[in-house]
């Protein structure tokens, strides 16, 4: 077979077909400049690399992860946190205990409105400091009223408590019938057997439907990349709890899942100087919360009429 048996290749330049020196130079100049401009206009995409790794992007849904895969995921998060903050955290995936259903009880007679719980929570759960994300809001209302519309968040007197007012901290009520879970289009949030409604931060698409559905303003959205100073990072983390979040996902109170599923009290409870916060297992008849619900004037489940059936109870002493 000789070479001449083949027809000329399609891609071979036909030297005479419409290409002279001038048009070649013009075309290549346009192409080069155009490509350079395209590359430079796409540059903002490079910045995304900061917060999405391939493993993270390809990670499976929390409920589908095998224990081996979960171990890998926890390792990856530990590595990422260490890279970003220079502190090696311990990230765990604690599961609900059998025979445990958590309930919170808050004594409105005792709360003095000092907001220490708000900041202990931020510290424990690695929330963004700037912009601020806080799971607890303390409402001030005049004695003898219960008008949430007239409540004040931004009170700043020299000392609390003030005469004629009472204070009501509001956080996620861990509803038995949670509207936020119903509206999530991707099942990124669900209720666990111990009553805590959790979020798979990796599965959340940031549509904020749950924020709109929640009647307690308990869900918060990370509009920007959360900023946590290194010296304030809490290295004891859990996957569904206080691992650092990413931009564009929801977060909310999870009853300090990293503490309570290890048997400890939540951070907001331990810091309360008035002892107004009580927490425990409602299925245990000897727990503090069982005693309170049995003997105290348990006044409300907040917005009871909505049928959300909160696991967060407010009560009075007298």
């Amino acid at each position: 077979m000789s070479h001449s048996d083949f027809p000329p290749l399609q891609g071979e330049p036909a030297p005479a077909a419409g290409m002279n020196r001038r048009s070649f130079l013009r075309t290549s100049a346009v192409l080069t400049t155009g490509l350079a401009a395209l590359a430079s206009s796409l540059r903002p995409l490079l910045e995304l690399e900061d917060y999405t790794s391939v493993e993270q992007f390809m990670q499976k849904y929390y409920k589908e992860l095998t224990p081996a895969e979960m171990a890998k995921v926890l390792k990856r998060i530990e590595n990422e946190v260490e890279k970003q903050y220079g502190i090696r955290p311990q990230v765990r995936d604690l599961r609900p205990m059998d025979g445990v259903e958590f309930v919170y009880a808050l004594n409105l007679t005792r709360c003095i409105g000092c907001r220490k719980c708000v900041h202990a929570c931020v510290q424990e759960n690695n929330q963004s400091r700037n912009p601020e994300i806080q799971y607890i809001r303390v409402l001030r209302m005049p004695h003898g009223s219960f008008d949430l519309d007239q409540s004040e968040h931004n009170y700043a007197p020299a000392t609390v408590p003030e005469k004629g007012y009472f204070y009501m901290p509001v956080q996620c009520q861990q509803c038995r019938n949670p509207p936020c879970v119903k509206v999530c289009p991707v099942h990124a949030t669900w209720q666990e057997t111990d009553g805590i409604t959790v979020i798979d931060y990796n599965w959340c698409i940031g549509c904020r439907y749950c924020e709109a559905a929640c009647p307690y303003w308990a869900r918060h959205f990370n509009f920007t990349k959360p900023s946590i100073p290194k010296e304030r990072l809490n290295p004891e983390m859990s996957y569904l709890g206080n691992q650092p979040r990413h931009q564009g996902v929801m977060e909310k109170c999870h009853f300090c899942i990293q503490r309570t599923r290890a048997g400890r009290y939540p951070a907001c409870l331990e810091v309360c100087p008035a002892g107004a916060r009580k927490f425990g297992n409602i299925l245990d008849p000897n727990s503090e919360v069982s005693y309170i619900l049995r003997t105290k004037r348990v006044f409300i489940q907040l917005k009871e009429e909505l049928g959300t059936s909160p696991r967060f109870f407010y009560y009075f002493d007298v």
Binding site: S23, S41, P131, E152, N154, Y265, S287
Partner: protein
Amino acid sequence: MDEHSPAEDPGPPRKTNLVLGTLLVGFVALAAAFALNLWGRQAPLDAIPLVDPALLDTATNRRSYADLVRAKEDLSDFDCYTCHEKNKAPTLRYDEHQNLLIPTEHSDIVMGHGEHGRNNNCFNCHNETNLKLLQTRDGRALQFDDSPQLCGSCHGPTYDDWEAGAHGRISGFWNRRLGAIKRQDCVNCHNPHAPAFQGRQPAPGPHPLHGPMVKPTAESGH
């Protein structure tokens, strides 16, 4: 091949040139805009000061006698008989309105137990024959580290709540199989001589993204 001579070729049509030129200008403009950061990344937010670490402290505001014993600290304040005489009850002095006069040696004590002003006698709670003991109204003598029982001898329902964990500060483990609960005594939070809570400065309120929401308050409303 040879049928199309270079002379016949009209070059790229004018329309293509126009489109390419527009695209080129567009991309160059975009590149310049990004390079100069014209519409900018997000402006940095105003700095929010970090909260004072003192507000994160879980310590109680007072330390009980039992705490001092546990920490092996100086207990000389509780050594009554370096000044007082043994087996002789100290005499109490009152002004013309029957208010107790606090001796200068105990000037750090401010009496304010109860709003009625009648519970102002030292020996309502202290044992007058042995100052190192406490004394309930029903005649039981108690050590200083048993003080909750003394409080409970008058404040019965509150004592029941405290025993059940429903009154007062707790910390540690809700699950007793995994760890111990730490329950604070009455005097860890209340000053026995003036038990009402003192006012304190509140921690800073929220800093919303777009400045504080201004709402009519009870005073400024209307």
